[in-house]
């Protein structure tokens, strides 16, 4: 101990300043041990791994610009008469929230830019999370040990939608006020306690004077605070689990191949933050978003046509629009199914994909860690389920914009609504079947490629006059990639009777699991992989066809 102190003392003054600062920090925070594990941490490279980064960076941009906006925004529903520089609104009564948003847009220099960056970044954030989630889903990156991290990511997406909604409600313009009125209708539709919830949330009857001041802390503190916590947990787990990688030469389930954090990944990822921020800044300079000055202040008796929520609420909007108006009146009470069913279906459909990792884990019974990503074709049932889910999602997005589809494509709004009503149920089924078949076709093509090589497009004439296409053999790496995946056996219930001939009891859940497992791992899910015997027989053979 004392000798160590002596050497430290001898060195003091000689070490470079950076090292001395690091020494100071290490003595208190233990940063050297932290850096030893992480400074040269390996990150695999693939373009699709940047989707999550886009989400992360747009979240940071939203926080930065959001803090700026809080300096100027007044979250108040007190009525004022506008006397600012924007002529069309002069003399118009509006809430302070709306008036201060006009001030940010027309009087604060750069305020409009920051407002537009904030809103654009929010759209990019949700979009990036959605696409990132789909990347993780279709490549099976959510499998053990990453199920919990998938759940964190999913919650971020879900809370992101809520935060976005509360955010675009704050300016108290005609469009966002209409959205809040819709929320009132949703609260009212809740059986038994609906009117109470509505009164408590709005501080009385809609719209009241309390809502914007109440939404404000939810939007700037509560939801972002929870999201920041989830985000940090998400990133810690990414570090802890180490990133997944696509199959390739030298890549195994036991290693991670890529570039070290310092310097390459740090430079690329750090630089990418500036790329994302730069692109969003330019978009905000040239593309107007949410021009509340043309929409006008909110009045509950006014509305504009073509009212649309931000894109990520389009799915919920669609459910509400295409649902038939069922109301059950009995014993002096009303059950408003026409609003209540869609609003329950909205989170249920989302949570169907949110809990998917646990469902797949139960079906397959796979308890191993997976760090090599699946090619989507090699997991046909999962891929088909994902496409079916996406189909339902996008059909409802059409439903959410049924008025715009009608006006832009000269279609009947009634036909579109009926198309969506049927398509929401039929579309996923068709998509499931089609996707599964496409996956099987792609598996067949992989097998052909491995056994017969890649088509070169070169036509050769044989001595006896026959034309054949020359096939070039794949490299060993390519063959490895096309054959490295597993084709596990489906879970089986075992014999129906035990060794004494007595029928065994098999629970309904086990039967269901066996059926689903057959769908995942049965003979309809896999084209048997080419074996090396097959390969050797063909390549040692005679000619190419």
């Amino acid at each position: 101990m004392s000798t160590a102190t002596d050497t430290d003392a001898q060195r003091r003054g000689k070490a470079p300043a950076g090292e001395r600062v690091a020494d100071w920090a290490d003595g208190r925070l233990g940063i050297y041990s932290l850096a030893r594990a992480n400074m040269r941490k390996i990150f695999p490279d693939h373009w699709s791994f940047m989707l999550g980064e886009v989400a992360l960076y747009s979240f940071i941009i939203i926080i930065l610009t959001g803090v700026y906006l809080t300096l100027f925004f007044h979250p108040s529903m007190e009525e004022v008469v506008y006397h600012g520089p924007y002529v069309p609104m002069q003399g118009v009564r509006m809430s302070e929230a709306f008036a201060s948003t006009l001030d940010i847009s027309f009087e604060v220099r750069g305020g409009l830019l920051i407002r537009q960056i904030h809103h654009w970044a929010a759209l990019v954030f949700l979009c990036a999370m959605f696409v990132h989630m789909m990347r993780v889903f279709f490549t099976g990156a959510f499998r053990k040990p990453r199920e919990v991290n998938w759940l964190f990511g999913f919650l971020l997406f879900f809370l992101g939608m809520l935060t976005g909604f509360t955010g675009y409600s704050l300016p108290d313009d005609l469009l966002s006020g209409t959205g809040l009125r819709f929320i009132e209708g949703v609260f009212l539709s809740i059986p038994v306690v609906g009117t109470y919830i509505s009164m408590f949330v709005f501080g009385g009857e809609f719209p009241g004077m309390d809502l914007i001041p109440r939404l404000y802390p939810v939007h700037v503190l509560l939801l972002p605070g929870i999201m920041l916590g989830l985000l940090v947990a998400h990133l810690i787990l990414v570090f802890y689990h180490k990133h997944t990688q696509f199959p390739g030469a030298g890549k195994t389930n036991k290693n991670v191949v890529g570039m070290p954090l310092l310097p390459v990944y740090m430079a690329k990822a750090g630089g990418f933050f500036f790329l994302v921020f730069g692109v969003i800044a330019v978009i905000s300079a040239i593309a107007t978003i949410n021009p509340i000055w043309t929409i006008g202040p909110y009045r509950p008796d006014q509305v504009s046509t073509g009212a649309q929520p931000d894109w990520y609420m389009g799915f919920a909007e669609g459910l509400v629009r295409v649902m038939p108006g069922w109301e059950i009146n009995a014993w002096g009470h009303t059950l408003v199914l026409g609003v209540f069913i869609p609003i329950v279906a909205f989170p249920l459909v989302l949570f169907a994909i949110g809990f998917y990792p646990f469902i797949e884990g139960w079906i397959t019974g796979d308890k191993r860690e997976h760090h090599i990503l699946d090619r989507p074709r090699n997991a046909p049932t999962r891929t088909a389920f994902g496409v079916a889910w996406l189909t339902a999602y996008f059909v409802m997005l059409v439903g959410g914009g049924n008025d715009l589809w009608a006006t832009h494509f000269n279609l009947s709004i009634n036909s579109i609504t009926w198309f969506v009503r049927i398509g929401f149920f039929a579309g996923p089924v068709l998509a499931f079947i089609a996707t599964k078949r496409i996956c099987m076709g792609l598996q067949r093509r992989d097998k052909d490629k491995v056994l017969h090589g890649r088509e070169t497009g070169i036509i050769k004439r044989l001595p006896h006059g026959e034309f054949v296409e020359v096939h070039a053999p794949l490299t060993q790496e390519q063959m490895h990639v096309l054959t490295q995946h597993e084709q596990p056996k489906a879970y089986e219930l075992g014999p129906e009777v035990d060794e004494n001939g007595v029928p065994r009891k098999v629970g309904a859940s086990q039967k269901l699991r066996a059926r689903l497992s057959k769908s995942y791992y049965g003979k309809d899910a896999f084209i048997p992989k080419p074996t090396s015997e097959e390969y050797k027989e063909i390549t040692s053979g005679h000619g190419h066809h």
Partner: protein, 351 residues
């Protein structure tokens, strides 16, 4: 750290790299060939190329600096209310355009410079790192379980059932205080949603002119909006009251009115319906003259005003409430009472 080190001597230049490995069919033709050899980039072997890359990176960083200066210059120089024409965007705020573009370039150039630096000048040798199982080893697990057992035993949590159960009870009850505190978030609903400002004898005021409406003000084919007499925009509760009281009027040929009650409640073919959609409360504002259908622009619920405000399409669950009107002695339209049923979206107590 790295388990796979590649010595400089083993590396090959791109053109020397062997074509594929398919010819080397060993025991298993599909075996993992292992990490490929590192390929040198031009910058790794040609210092002049590396210097060119460095100059490109420096140029990008310089562009960023210039853009930041331009940003500050535009902030100072451009007035906030100056509008310019920019092809093909149109007339836009000069300041917003200048600030956004310069900020965008300043940021993008930093990112582009950093990424170019990483791609061309930093080492691009791929290295492999080992993964370790997340699960703890059996020894660690056994130790943890043992520790837990000891701790639990020492606490007496399992043995002192009375203490434990009362603790559960206390912990379950204490959050109720928080719930109770939420009571004053708002008033109880009572019958608030059943009433509007409309009352017997209140005249119908034109929504735009704030003048009382006469039957002759309302022509066939037009949609007129009205609010109750005595209500002004300056009222403290105007927003809350208009959210329920908003009214729309159309004139039909009396023999076109299919619903008997609607005819009774009309005046000379003029019918007054709540403007608030019965779906989720958007104001209805689209009127089809020929069919007498009104459409809510939010979710496209369609109501037939010639048939008691019946829902004919869309997600609304019940007909629009009608307001009973008449012309008074002075010839103004007036309400004969409040709406007979709650306006707006349905709710549990509506019945």
């Amino acid at each position: 750290m790295s388990s796979h080190e590649i010595s400089e001597a083993e590396e090959k230049l791109p053109e020397e790299r062997a074509q594929g490995g398919a010819t080397a069919v060993a025991e298993d033709p599909f075996a993992d060939p292992g990490l490929p050899e590192h390929e040198h980039r031009q910058q790794d072997i040609d210092e002049r190329a590396a210097q060119r890359s460095e100059r490109t990176v420096a140029l990008l960083f310089t562009v960023s600096m210039l853009a930041t200066i331009a940003f500050i210059a535009s902030y100072v120089a451009l007035p906030v209310d100056k509008y310019i024409y920019v092809f093909p965007i149109g007339h836009i705020s000069a300041l917003n355009f200048a600030l956004g573009v310069t900020l965008g370039i300043a940021l993008f150039a930093i990112g582009a410079g950093a990424v170019h630096w990483a791609r061309t000048l930093m080492s691009d040798v791929e290295v492999a790192d080992e993964r370790h199982a997340i699960e703890a080893s059996p020894e660690v697990k056994a130790k943890v379980l043992e520790d837990f057992r000891t701790g639990a035993q020492e606490s007496g949590f399992g043995r002192r059932k009375l203490a434990r159960n009362t603790l559960f009870g206390a912990l379950a009850l204490v959050p109720l205080s928080g719930v109770v505190l939420l009571r004053d978030l708002g008033p109880l609903p009572g019958t608030k949603l059943r009433h509007t400002t409309w009352a017997k004898g209140k005249r119908l005021m034109n929504y735009n002119t704030m003048q009382p409406l006469r039957p002759e003000d309302i022509s066939v084919g037009s949609l007129t909006f009205a609010m109750p007499e005595g209500m002004t925009e300056e009222d403290h509760d105007f927003q809350t009251e208009i959210a329920k009281a908003a009214l729309m009027l159309v004139r039909l040929q009396p023999d076109n009115i299919k619903d008997k009650r609607e005819l009774d409640w009309s005046h000379d073919g003029i019918v007054a319906f709540s403007k608030i959609c019965t779906h989720v409360g958007c104001p209805i504002n689209l009127y089809e003259q020929q069919t007498h259908h009104v459409l809510c622009p939010c979710h496209q619920s369609t109501f037939d005003l010639s048939d008691g405000g019946r829902v004919i399409f869309g997600p609304a669950g019940h007909a629009l409430p009608q307001l009973r009107i008449k012309a008074n002695d002075q010839g103004y339209l007036e309400a004969m009472g409040d709406f007979s049923e709650p306006v707006g979206p349905a709710y549990w107590e509506r019945g």
